[in-house]
Symmetry: C2
Subunit: 248 residues, 2 copies
DNA sequence: CAGATCAGTCTTGTATGCAAGAACTGCACG
DNA sequence: CGTGCAGTTCTTGCATACAAGACTGATCTG
């Protein structure tokens, strides 16, 4: 079950239900999952080694809020990994291409519906699916973590690039893969990630003055009681523009 | 302190003092480190998410013994990452080159002395140091884990390639980097890793029939008592040839 | 009213207790 | 001599207890 907790938390994070900066109270989570703090702690520890969450000594666990430097480095790492993979991998078999086309179709559908939560997940997962085509588990795990961190970044620095543009890039990449032109696919993927990163508002300053919001308790609705079952959400979901802006 | 335990264990593993398959008893480690099982468990959990160790339910923790498939995938992942990084990174500044040359010198010295333990560490660490030149922490962490896993592989499938050959490859790579020829450095690095992998004896069958050695208790010296303070070493260090054969 | 102080409450850090399962040991039996 | 079986011991899994730091809020003081 501890692995299940890790995955459940990760899913909530990458789908934006637990935004960057959210406090993750061990005891509340323990209550929510119906287990003791021990298992929660194990799951959080795992997520910490993947840099998805962060712990401040005796203060609490938080969904990681990558700073500008970390954002840079994670994007750079992703570019390197995906470029190297595509440039050096053998051409994808038709079955893999078919799976990617299915994914592209899912993206299209999600965009049409404007289902933001699904979109965030799908746009990030595209790159993981590409890795899955290789059948290389080590690579998939690598990209899963890297992609999750990327989503965190997108969530922090509201991307100016909308999902449609990313979707079009994805289509182009799959076309190149289908044509067996790995070199082109690699370069497209590299450029795509550069464009996405360039679209970030890195001057947004993630949670200015440390965790000011938490300090000011913007996490709790004004009249709400002190006992909330769900972990607190320091960043207001309401201030997100209706158009689905996100990376990947 | 839990982070210290993780690093201490990792160091012991990558330096070969805790060979693949070694059993890592929580209580013994707790005793050795002078802490409770809790902290040991946390360190082991961290190492497990990095695929350095593995846990079998209610049987115990073990230093991971990668099978042939995992070996393939980890090497492939490393090739992708390092190729992508070098092919797309900007040329290294002179200071970084200097540090790499220092490392090369350390390698040379270790080969001259035949200090096997140091050699294992250095030959693997070369690739980590290259990543360090980028100043990209995410990339460094990635390669640290990947390299550690590679060392495990080398330890399982006794490499036929000796350290000297790897050392020469490293020199060549640094020369290319010094010349600012990143494309060449990338390709050299890729080929180097392919050569190293090709030198593995993947037909050695890692610990045939599951953990036969453990079952047969080849880990304990015949007359030795049952209370050994150190974790058991299932693989005999004595059957290693005197010439330092290893990967990277 | 502004500021300091101190008790109360929350958080994680770490140790410990207990239970369940796996494996080993020795014995009895065919 | 091999084989099955039970008792014992060792292992991890998970819950819980307790300690100590950090924050909150009220009260007291100038």
């Amino acid at each position: 079950m501890p692995r299940g907790i890790e995955n459940t938390l990760l899913a909530a994070i990458v789908e934006g239900r637990l935004p960057p900066g959210s406090k993750l109270s061990e005891s509340r989570l323990a209550e929510a999952f119906g287990v003791s703090r021990t298992l929660i702690r194990e799951a959080l520890t795992r997520l910490e080694t993947r840099r998805i969450v962060r712990v401040e000594a005796r203060r609490g666990w938080f969904v990681n809020t990558p700073d500008a430097e970390e954002a840079n480095q994670v994007y750079a790492a992703r570019r390197f990994v995906e470029y190297g993979f595509l440039a050096k991998a053998r051409p994808f078999p038709p079955a893999a291409i078919a799976r990617l086309r299915t994914h592209i179709e899912e993206e299209r559908a999600a965009i049409a519906e404007g289902d933001k939560s699904t979109l965030i997940y799908l746009m990030g997962d595209f790159h993981v699916r590409i890795a899955e085509a290789s059948g290389n588990r080590a690579l998939v795990e690598l990209l899963q973590t890297l992609t999750a961190r990327t989503i965190l970044i997108s969530l922090c620095y509201q991307s100016e690039r909308n999902a449609l543009a990313s979707h079009r890039d994805h289509v182009e990449i799959v076309d190149a893969l289908a044509a067996g032109d790995m070199t082109r696919a690699a370069q497209l993927s590299f450029d795509h990630l550069e464009d996405v990163e360039a679209g970030l508002n890195t001057d947004i300053a993630p949670d200015p003055l440390g965790s000011l919001r938490t300090t000011l308790r913007l996490d709790r609705a004004p009249g709400e009681g002190t006992k909330t079952k769900r972990p607190e959400n320091p960043s207001e979901p309401s201030d997100q523009s209706e158009k689905t802006h996100l990376g990947n």
